[in-house]
């Protein structure tokens, strides 16, 4: 009798295995890699970014978005150190990844040759236009920093009253910060009617009073920033103390502050406090304090995976979520065509993402489009302004005109 029971259990187990095993045997796992600064410099952006990527891929697997197939994205902390990024990338290659997500401008430029040799499609968190020079495999998620700075400059020119606007640039002392300077100068050369009075490369200054006074003495009316939030917050607080922040756009005798993607977001408001009021910011991402299907999806995702309010509302969470959405979409398209999910096929699918095949992730203000000649994803930008301590959109999404003229 006892023997019979054991035999019955074994039969049952065998039957269950026969039903489930073929499904699991056919199920595939697609390996991806992400190396970024979860700790160390810029981790304030990298941390929510990694959560966005992690949560979205978890969501894909949990909801069986790819059927029985799953995505296994290994996320590694590189502490903003290129040598560690290189090591992580080698590790991912050993694991057999089909798609790679990178982070900083420095490491993207440093590994560019490796991406070419490996023919590895890559989406970095850096929107530096220089990433695309002599590169076939790097795809920017949204408009480049150059396009963002030009977009802000075009807004200044269109809305400035009386004469030629005098502009200063406040930039990070690296390739990341310097990237848009030359392109903006080219736009001015191509007919954008503004004067770039000074380009300030900030250091680790804790006080910008002297710099601001110098800009005022030179008649600067607008400052376009291309850096991270903390130096902008320092500058805004000092400008506020000096009574230099324009309360309305282009207010005479005051300075209107504007910035590209990584200068803004909730962290800037948290750092600068009331001094962030009337700061103009551009990005291609939606913000969660304005209702939209994308914002709802972002907040729901963060809630599902128990993320705190700060991460849930971060534009860098949206940023990470969006690149994961794009990677998932190309895998889906590859599968739908019956093609094997390889880095070569994913690369082809990315380049075919245009026209009626453009992808709308919802987390951005426009569709993601790539082609053989266009490796910048979302071309549209949205302008936001801080009102009452939150970023509010102003106007409709736009595409900078002078990016095509330079």
């Amino acid at each position: 009798m006892k023997m019979n029971r054991v035999t019955s259990w074994m039969f049952l187990l065998a039957a269950v295995s026969m039903v489930t095993l073929p499904v699991h045997a056919l199920a595939k796992e697609y390996k991806l890699g992400l190396s970024l600064a979860i700790t160390g410099p810029t981790s304030d952006a990298g941390n929510p970014y990694s959560k966005g990527v992690e949560d979205y891929f978890q969501f894909v697997n949990d909801t069986k978005m790819l059927g029985e197939d799953t995505i296994n994205c290994t996320i590694r902390d590189d502490q903003y150190n290129n040598d560690i990024t290189k090591r992580n990338f080698e590790d991912f290659l050993d694991q057999g990844i089909v798609f790679y997500l990178n982070y900083s401008t420095g490491s993207t430029l440093a590994l560019k040759k490796d991406f070419e040799e490996e023919k590895m499609p890559v989406i970095p968190a850096s929107f530096h236009a220089g990433n695309l020079v002599d590169s076939n495999y790097i795809f920017l998620p949204i408009a480049s920093y150059s396009a963002q700075a030009i977009g802000l400059a075009e807004y200044v020119v269109k809305n400035h009253k009386e004469g030629t606007p005098k502009v200063a640039m406040f930039i990070h002392p690296s390739a990341f910060g310097r990237g848009p300077v030359e392109d903006l100068q080219k736009a001015v050369g191509a007919g954008l009617k503004m004067e770039i009075v000074e380009v300030v490369e900030h250091g680790k200054d804790l006080d910008n009073t002297a710099m601001l006074q110098r800009l005022v003495s030179k008649g600067v009316q607008y400052v376009i920033s291309q850096t991270v939030q903390s130096p902008v917050a320092t500058m805004l607080k000092d400008a506020s103390s000096l009574g230099l922040v324009a309360k309305s756009f282009g207010e005479a005798g005051k300075i209107t502050f504007l910035g590209c993607h990584y200068t803004g977001g909730n962290d800037l408001v948290a750092l600068a406090g009331p001094a962030a009021e009337s700061f103009y910011w551009t990005t291609s991402y939606i913000v969660t304090n304005e209702p939209s299907p994308g914002a709802t999806a972002q907040l729901d995702l963060a809630k599902k995976y128990n993320r705190d309010e700060k991460a849930a509302n971060s534009h860098n969470y949206a940023n990470g979520m969006m690149v994961a959405q794009v990677a998932t979409e190309v895998i889906k398209r590859c599968k739908a065509k019956g093609k094997e999910v390889t880095k070569e096929n994913l690369y082809e699918e990315l380049q075919a993402m245009n026209g009626d095949k453009a992808f709308s992730p919802g987390t951005t203000v426009g569709p993601v489009t790539y082609s053989k000649t266009d490796h910048a994803g979302v071309d549209s930008l949205q302008l936001y302004i801080v009102k009452g301590g939150v970023f509010k959109s102003t106007g409709t999404p736009f595409v900078p005109e002078y990016t095509k003229k330079i």
């Binding site: 979860i38 700790t39 160390g40 981790s43 941390n47 996320i75 590694r76 902390d77 502490q79 150190n81 290129n82 040598d83 560690i84 290189k86 090591r87 992580n88 080698e90 590790d91 290659l93 050993d94 420095g106 430029l109 440093a110 560019k112 040759k113 490796d114 040799e117 490996e118 220089g130 002392p173 690296s174 390739a175 310097r178 705190d308």
Partner: protein, 364 residues
């Protein structure tokens, strides 16, 4: 010395010549031969992922750099906290040729041994120049002078267009007798190249210390006035100590450039200079094998702390800032602990272990 050099249980020198031998006993020579054989042969029996090969290669590059630092700081007693800048000089020598001649120029791809020596020479020139203040300055003041060189180096690279403003300058793959070194062979190839360079440099430094020039370094470190009175030239000795350190650092820099196939200023910052100094202290200042132990210990510690902080950052969100601080914290702690409890570094543990084995079974 015992008549039988296999059975020697102590150092019984009867002449200065015996004391200057590279290997004191036949056992030493055999052990070194076996070690080298193992180092050259293990890749034939054990296949490691590229990730780990990169870690090993990185340690070997640091060994060469620390060997140079040990010459100037350990043997000559001249504090240098700008050593990463000398390594950077070597790397940027390769990068400059890459910019001027084109990335795939034959000199860079086929003449890479020449480029490595050239980078070393450039490091030596800058070393000698930076060493000039050592004629007038000592101790903390000299440290500040080398620090200023580090700052000047970083500033120059960061702002000059020729150096791509610190952004990565690509370096080509090299060609060997079997053709261009492919991606799959890259890290193994450089492992062997680094090993050969280390053996050459190691024997070079060991030999230097047997010569009057080497003894001058130690004499100047111990008392430069006494050395002067004995007929040595302290000024010349200090300058060539810096030049030699610069040469080895330059070689390490060129190897780093070829290994990573690119040169960016981020790899040669003040943080790296302090790391090299830490490696020299932890390994054992003024010892040749301390230059091997230090990089090995610090790089492996770095790797472990990196994994720990990654784990903390990923699992304990509230402790992200703590995770960020773990690396510098552990790094600083290790240096302080070594300075307090083992100022002679790991090399001293090695010395104790060796003397124990040598005297076995006649322990005292």
């Amino acid at each position: 010395m015992s008549a039988n050099r296999w059975l020697a249980t102590g150092n019984y020198f009867t002449s200065y010549r015996e004391e200057q031998r590279i290997f004191f006993t036949s056992l030493d020579r055999t052990a070194m031969g076996l070690l080298l054989a193992v180092l050259f042969a293990w890749p034939f029996f054990l296949e490691l992922d590229n990730k780990y090969m990169l870690v090993i290669d990185n340690i070997l590059v640091a060994v060469i750099a620390v060997m140079g630092l040990n010459l100037v700081t350990g043997f000559a007693g001249l504090i240098s906290i700008g050593h990463a800048a000398f390594v950077g000089i070597g790397a940027y020598t390769v990068a400059s040729f890459s910019r001027m001649l084109g990335e795939n120029h034959l000199l860079l791809s086929h003449g890479w041994p020449v480029m490595i020596i050239l980078a070393g020479c450039m490091g030596a020139v800058f070393g000698a120049l930076v060493g000039l203040p050592a004629l007038r300055l000592k101790h903390l003041y000299l440290a500040i002078a080398t620090l200023s060189f580090q700052m000047i180096f970083q500033w120059t690279i960061n702002f000059m267009n020729f150096f791509n403003q610190g952004q990565t300058i690509s370096v080509t793959r090299v060609t060997w007798v079997t053709g261009q070194v492919s991606r799959s062979q890259h890290y193994m190839f450089w492992y062997y190249a680094l090993l050969v360079v280390i053996v050459l440099c190691g024997f070079g430094v060991r030999n230097l210390l047997r010569t009057r020039y080497g003894r001058c370094l130690v004499a100047v470190r111990d008392n430069d006035r006494a050395a002067d009175a004995m007929g040595m030239h302290p000024g010349f000795t200090k300058v060539y100590a810096f030049a030699l350190a610069g040469f080895l650092a330059g070689v390490a820099g060129a190897l780093h450039a070829y290994l990573y196939r690119g040169v960016g200023v981020e790899s040669f910052t003040l943080h790296h200079s302090i790391s090299y100094l830490a490696m020299a202290i932890v390994g054992g200042l003024g010892t040749l094998h301390g230059s091997f132990w230090g990089p090995l210990a610090i790089k492996l510690l770095d790797l472990q702390v990196e994994q720990l902080s990654e784990w903390v950052g990923a699992h304990v969100t509230a402790a992200t800032n703590l995770a960020t601080a773990l690396r510098p914290l552990s790094f600083g702690l290790v240096i302080v602990l070594f300075l307090m409890f083992e100022p002679r570094g790991i090399a001293n543990w090695w010395r104790i272990a060796r003397s124990y084995v040598k005297l076995w079974p006649f322990r005292y």
